[in-house]
Symmetry: C2
Subunit: 328 residues, 2 copies
DNA sequence: GAAGAAATTTAAAACGTTTCCGGCAAGAAG
DNA sequence: CTTCTTGCCGGAAACGTTTTAAATTTCTTC
């Protein structure tokens, strides 16, 4: 900046103002300074800006260990970086480890001003992270909704619509006893999925059951064993709503262990977040959730908050994509 | 720091020195200052440190769009954060987009001192990123080796050993015409895999072929179509070495399209990087590459470089894990 | 053509560290 | 008792920005 000041014969102050397009600097001065800056390849020193202003230009993505599976985090990350491209914001990955509560990194980031905004997922109805962030007026976007009365920015997939449609498809295939592999109950979207499922079940008056022993967080091996064991008992379910691809595979495997095959003894409708299930035989029916898009939307919402927009419409509910996603 | 200076009755300078354990400060002074710092919950202001010293305390992970698939990046990231835990270093994800050359972000990071060190993958024999980084004396660790005469830090999986063992297994199953789905030729590990494959082929004197039309970067759909088409021609291969899980699934699917089943008309030995293939039927034989471990090792190597260690033994070659990985 | 208003620019301080260099004690040597 | 060395500590400048408050120029208006 000093260099530019020398080159243009202006004071450093003026250069600073001109570069941030302050209105009180004459228009041609601004243009001139910006041109010179471009010519000498000027780039602001982030450290100095941060020291002076307190803004870090950093957005922190809280990564849950569970999200390691199948690139859940990667897809979000990909969308996020897309949204952050061209902005001065950097994305830093802040994993929380299994041995510490999910709120610790949030606390740490707030207290030490390590970021300007936070993005996280696996939201709970009364998520302590949300409470803490709101109390501190700290900008954030959650993946998933809460039950707090105060509104906050979120992006969520309409898991209720997903489960409803998935269940209806099973029923329309003639399945008479449906079940659903849910996320852990404490997560908000478990309730949403359950709601969609139950709505469809009640409408059709079909039998159903809700497994207690396994969730989407269970290992594939556990789900497989559970499905296997359940299939041996009387009156097993013949229609499965699977909230993830891994659980769908495990469900198939558990049945195969007993010689039962997909499409004959049972059917599955699964949530698809990658292109994984497209190539296994027999074909699993899926409904698509676009995580990269969710990441991008979260990034955009956060940026809007950071640029001072006071949030009225900072909530996004992604509709399930019922068609098969176009090939890559 | 000013607070601590007040509390201890020392000067800011002394506090600074005491906190960084400078030897010219009396030992009990150091201990006292550090105790007080702990009590008041002092945390250094990264921005100020960075401004003053020029060190960013940031490590940049260059993410390739191809790595989105199946959490390749996520696993590395997970291991990396493990290695960085307890250090003052932050991990920032720097994706390079499809429309820009892979060297651009490197250039950008070096020129603008955006990080203290860089980690990346998909290394080529004469990788321009490696050349640039070495020219600038910029610390980095690559995932994969190069052919430069000057040594540099890397972590690599022994893909030659993998392909050799995989091919031998196919042959021992009685397969008489083997093939291998390789990464794009320009990547170093394509050569390594080819070498291992060819060694096994020559030893056994078995027939082989190398597909030109598809690589591990090809979409699953393309691989599936290729395999399908090839199976219809005369003298198709009956043993497949697959460098990734998706390609293995696609290979199975391509055969299934013609009614050919795994274990009967053909066999596969695949590289496994997730727990994905464990639950599909029929079971695919795999050899495991531990990407999280690779990430952790890369992190450690980089930290060692950053703490001034001059690299003699900064190269790590991961041996393939032949047994089935223990269940999660 | 001078006073006041408006428009434009600038000097200087500050953000929280690190570091160069100098200073002050206390003990050792003469 | 003076001088020198050694061991600790402190003053002040600097890193590259932003911002407050003030100074300078230019424009109106009578």
């Amino acid at each position: 900046m000093r260099t530019i000041a020398g080159l243009t014969g202006l004071a450093v102050t003026t250069v600073s103002r001109a570069l941030s397009n302050h209105a009180q600097i004459a228009l041609d001065t601004r243009e001139n300074v910006q041109r010179v800056a471009r010519e000498v390849g000027y780039l602001p020193d982030r450290a100095a800006q941060r020291l002076k202003t307190g803004r870090t230009h950093v957005i922190s993505l809280l990564l849950d260990p569970h999200e390691e599976i199948l690139g859940f985090g990667t897809s979000l990350l990909h969308g996020l970086t897309l949204a952050l491209r061209g902005t001065p914001y950097h994305l830093i990955a802040t994993p929380n480890f299994q041995d510490e509560p999910a709120i610790d990194p949030v606390n740490f980031i707030i207290r030490n001003k390590l970021a300007d905004g936070i993005i996280f997922s696996r939201t709970e109805p009364f998520d302590p992270r949300v409470r803490l962030l709101m109390e501190n007026g700290f900008p954030f976007v959650s993946h998933g909704r809460t039950d707090f009365s105060t509104q906050h920015a979120y992006v969520d997939f309409d898991n209720s619509a997903f489960a409803y449609e998935a269940t209806r498809r099973l029923i329309s295939k003639g399945r008479s006893r449906v079940t659903i592999i849910l996320p852990p109950k404490r997560l908000t979207f478990a309730q949403h999925m359950l709601h969609g499922f139950m709505t469809a079940v009640r409408e059709a008056g079909v039998e159903y059951e809700i497994p207690e022993a396994v969730t989407l967080d269970s290992s594939a091996g556990m789900i497989r064993d559970y499905v296997n064991a359940r299939a041996a008992e009387p009156n097993p379910p013949d229609g499965f709503v699977c909230g993830g691809e891994v659980s769908a595979l495990a469900t198939i495997a558990g049945h195969n262990d007993r010689g039962m095959v997909l499409g004959r003894e049972f059917d599955i409708v699964a949530k698809q977040t990658s292109r994984l299930l497209s190539h296994i035989q027999p074909r699993v029916e899926t409904i698509y959730e676009d995580l990269a898009a969710a990441g991008e939307q979260m990034g955009q919402l956060l940026i809007r908050q950071l640029s001072g927009e006071t949030g009225t419409d900072l909530q996004i509910l992604q509709a399930p994509r019922f068609g098969v996603p176009t090939s890559k």
